[in-house]
Symmetry: D2
């Protein structure tokens, strides 16, 4: 694999051309323009049917199209694989990519089951020279990074309490048809797998490891229409949890896919001994900061004082966007491939997120310890 | 007691001249001006030392002053007693007032212990002709009543999920001296007793009875300075809880007295099957409403479409204030005394609130059932 | 009149029992409770017909009722007169009160015409021992006083630019019937007289004297229904203006009574060389402050750090209300009567406000100098 | 030029690699990925010195680099030229490009002087087959387009009043060194040319043609430090204006580059006979809408109900960003080149914007008519 890790010649395969496939494509096309470095080679775009792949390869600027993702993984021109397919395909594709010697950029959630996630993390650990990174793009928001920086600098003292929600309403309509995504076998977890995992990714980045969760879940719309009549929804529409952090801090956690009026309300608050931070992804360019002694909360608009914002725009208050988070994620991946800092969360850290959401899903009101195995932290 | 219940000649004793004593005085002075009816007679103001009582009686417009609250309770000119003293005096004063045949308006929380609250509720039940009402003034905010009305009308469908917090920062400074209020014996519960009970009062008004709570508490500042050196804080600085409602709905609950930058953040959200309501007491003239099919949340500024707002001001957007909530509470009390609707929460309903906060305080992460005794609902 | 000016025995007559009459009554009843000092004597309440006056005197707690305001002014027990009647009665009542030796608390706007206002100011100047104060209650908001204090302390440096609006929508509905208030003879100015004068009162308090205005006005609904068919609206529905301040600063100004969705949007911004202040009366407990070097705007919730807030409530974030502004105005009046600082704006300062709004009404796009006569500043 | 207009083979030259040069590059790279169609050919990137151009050509993915923009314009592989250089170069470069038969995408403001803008519009009119479009990117925000759509549909009735500001604080610091941009010869207009023209572009898109302006300007910091000692600032730091629209509506207008705390506050409000719209570019994914009969303002988060948002992301509330506005502008340009709808504002419309800001700059408090020459509308 000598030389392949060099960003000078990084060859890309992208699997999937939907919402997140397009988002990955935009990121691959603009990452060098924004951050410098050599342009990645957009080698092959995979989707089915093949004519879909062909059409989108032109649009996304990929050199080739294919309906055969396994062939793409075997392609020696490909160094890194973006996987943006439905969750049930994450494990087989990621494992095949690792076995083919490729770096892997995988959308969240990692897998349908905790067992799948464990197997994937194990395989990644067995391929230490290959980079894995999961698509927790909200971690890349410069406002979020600013929040982490403020906590690290001690701006709010010792974090005492976390309050977090991630609510959307895409499943609120009871007439929304049933789909396989609403089953355990087809979709894995519900709101926890789709939304809650994002909130967990931010929570642990802000507060450190989770020691214990106590949660309860709810299915607000138990059956949904299908051509064969009403079908049962198996995975949760919403979940609530209490959190004990390893640090001794405490937290509350809520997520819902049936929260009427909420569109991307990933909202949290960190209360520290000397200050408080507040954030809402629906207003993703704002971080609200209060420090002891100040009169109230100050609205920090994102701007070029945040280094990653500066790469996109030198003017403060000129809004950074959702898709641009992915460009930073892509840069982090490329930088890790080139031997720079790890692009977190990789599969090991992703497994820790999975443990937390699966513990919440299984808690049913009882406390569940979150076990961190020592080899993962190595 | 014939005739004494008539609002035409309601005689008032007020015990306490601090924050809430002044608030009660303003309410008694303006209740008739705002809502009509006969002016109450402000008979006697009690505080210690007596010259404090004398000075404030002039300021508050009371006819007499006294340092002897028991004598005031024995005064036949007194029909109703406002009790605004420290929590440890609530039980003896309220019981003495009931035994003296007076109506009782008591500040929250009801008592230091659940046993005290039970005894008080029992005594009130034994005096069915006397009105008791607790000072859960935030229930009187016209915006809150509008929220209740919208839920009752079905505007948001079936309530599914409640998310509530009540945070302030009055104890956030670690240099704040130790006081007896921070002990179980002197202050009872901490944040739950001072703030959390308000949130519970709103939660049950919006969502109906609570079936079970699971909570954890935190003491953020374990010792505080005193003239005798550091002393231990015994009651909780903050608490987090999960709620199961009798209806099947679920909720999250948080309260803190050490939440830096929060001043009166009693904030909640009710997510229903067809809409969502959002409120924050720091902006107490705003109710945010989303109904299925609308583009987003609409900001309803309080106005004369809310009947109790209209009594204060015919112009919308002309802010209703914190102290004015107490005037409505006073009207509700007087109306109940005159034979109108009950002025909730009385001592029976107050006991239900106490059960919930004491269950939270005792939960330590385990689910605790909330038992509703049948005789209370009679 | 010996001794009558002492607050120990201040006798009050109130003329009018509508929106502002009730607001004055609440203020008179609570001013001593809030600020200390002797209770004012509520001697006589005037309105027509007499049974209205009688009914409201009981409700407002006045000793006597009358349909004859002139008799009330002749009453030796009366020291101060609250005038809350329609604008066309302001001049005759205020002049009669001054001639009867009474202090005068008059609602805004001062009068229907500039000539009336001039005559009133002249008469007040001829009675220097009697206090006059106009009901510009928004000046009393503790958040507004905090803004004035910040400017005086230099917190935002030299004020450079003012941007102000006062919009409501009470006349937006074209089906709202025609009334005499919409005529010059009956109502005087339109939005400028009702709303704009409030904004001018705040503008000059923040920015100092106005040197020149250039304005244009608009009648959005030219005719309105009446029992006799459509009738013409004569006074302006909205006005826009540019301002040159004597200091060299500049400003923009807008007011409307037909601004759909606006309820009490008295909103302004003062941009200084070293910072900016922003305020909106619809959220009247918030002042937004930015100082050079800070990351953004900080939300200052009103609280007891503002001395006049503290008189009402020791807890920050517990909202001060619209009606409570009037209590402060009442205290200012009583304090001035007792020989304390002047209760601005009196009639001289009120005349300066009238000159500005009448200059705006007459400008028709041409600059109009605002002349300040030297004797007024004496 | 046969075939050159086909988007299938559109060749691009980009002049300038600064803030807006990078923004154009990102747009050219992603326009086909977002909207479909053939990828543009990124032929040549121009800047000085040549090694800067070389380095950035790699980063931006252009085939060639050059320090000679005139040579680039002569290149037959180039069909369209992006001009992102300092304002003083706009006229010579745009004229040369037009004369070379190229389509022109030019950053705002159009030119330093009204005479320059007139000459450029005249030349563009003489080359009707070539597309010109100016970089008024804020017009492309889907939330802004939604506002236009609502007005066009009559959602707020007849527009009556416009209130607009565009404030930033990039020149607020008096220690910011003097630069040639602060002179008439070097920079043209000040805040009006840099910020005000954006606000004018939105104002006319919302309200229609301007008939008359009355304005005043201010230089807040008259001299600034330079190596040769203090130098005079010639162009305005801020401007305020009254607007008469051809429709009979009225407006207020304000812009400043010295507004402490403001970062991108392009904020406006359109008050109509049946509703009001409110927008602020600092929260560019929100449009606030009130319609007669509704309780208040509703916050519309941008989402895929806006067609151009949908091209970027199918999920509402997932923020569209500043740079993405440019991608839409690029699509509009390419679509116009391909024979689709005009990409407004072209040079003719841009000249109308220039007339308005130059009229404001020259007004000095007097009304100035805005003349629309008939041939421009052809």
């Amino acid at each position: 694999m000598s030389g392949r890790q060099s960003p000078d010649s990084l060859g890309v395969a992208l699997i999937g051309t939907g919402f997140m496939g397009k988002c990955h494509a935009m990121a691959w096309r603009n990452v060098a323009t924004v951050f410098g470095g050599a342009q990645p080679r957009l080698e092959v775009l995979c989707d089915t049917p093949e004519d879909r792949a062909q059409a989108m390869a032109g649009q996304f600027g990929f050199a080739r199209a294919s309906a055969d993702w396994q062939a793409a993984l075997a392609d020696p021109a490909v160094d890194v694989v973006s996987i943006t397919t439905p969750n049930g395909l994450h494990r087989p594709m990621a494992e095949a990519a690792l076995r083919a010697g490729k770096h892997v950029w995988l959308e969240k959630p990692m897998a349908l089951t905790l067992e799948d996630a464990q197997a994937m993390a194990d395989l990644a650990a067995a391929h230490p020279g290959q980079v894995t990174v999961l698509g927790y793009n909200y971690l890349r928001n410069p406002a979020f990074q600013a929040a982490r920086g403020l906590i690290a600098q001690g701006a709010i003292g010792r974090p005492l309490s976390f309050r977090g929600v991630y609510d959307e309403d895409y499943s609120a309509d009871p007439d929304l048809p049933w789909s396989w995504r609403m089953t355990h076998a087809g979709g894995g977890l519900g709101a926890l797998g789709d939304l809650g995992c994002h909130l967990v990714s931010q929570m642990v980045a802000l507060m450190g490891p989770v020691a214990e969760v106590t949660a309860m879940t709810q299915i607000a719309v138990p059956t949904r229409p299908s051509p064969d009549g009403p079908c049962a929804v198996e995975n949760e529409d919403s979940a609530l949890a209490l959190i004990r952090f390893a640090s001794g801090a405490q937290g509350s956690f809520a997520t819902s896919r049936v929260a009427r009026g909420r569109k991307c309300r990933l909202q949290w608050e960190v209360q520290g001994s000397d200050g408080t931070l507040v954030f809402d992804q629906e207003s993703m360019n704002e971080l609200w900061v209060h420090r002891a002694g100040e009169a109230g909360f100050t609205r920090h608009l994102s701007g070029p004082d945040q280094p990653e914002f500066a790469a996109f725009c030198p003017a403060p208050g000129h809004n950074f966007g959702f898709n641009e988070q992915k460009v930073i994620e892509c840069r982090d991946l490329m930088r890790a491939i080139a031997g720079g800092p790890a692009a977190e969360p990789g599969f090991a850290a992703g497994l820790r997120i999975e443990r937390i959401i699966h513990a919440m899903a299984a808690s049913n009101g009882r406390p569940v310890r979150i076990v961190e195995e020592s080899h993962e932290d190595a």
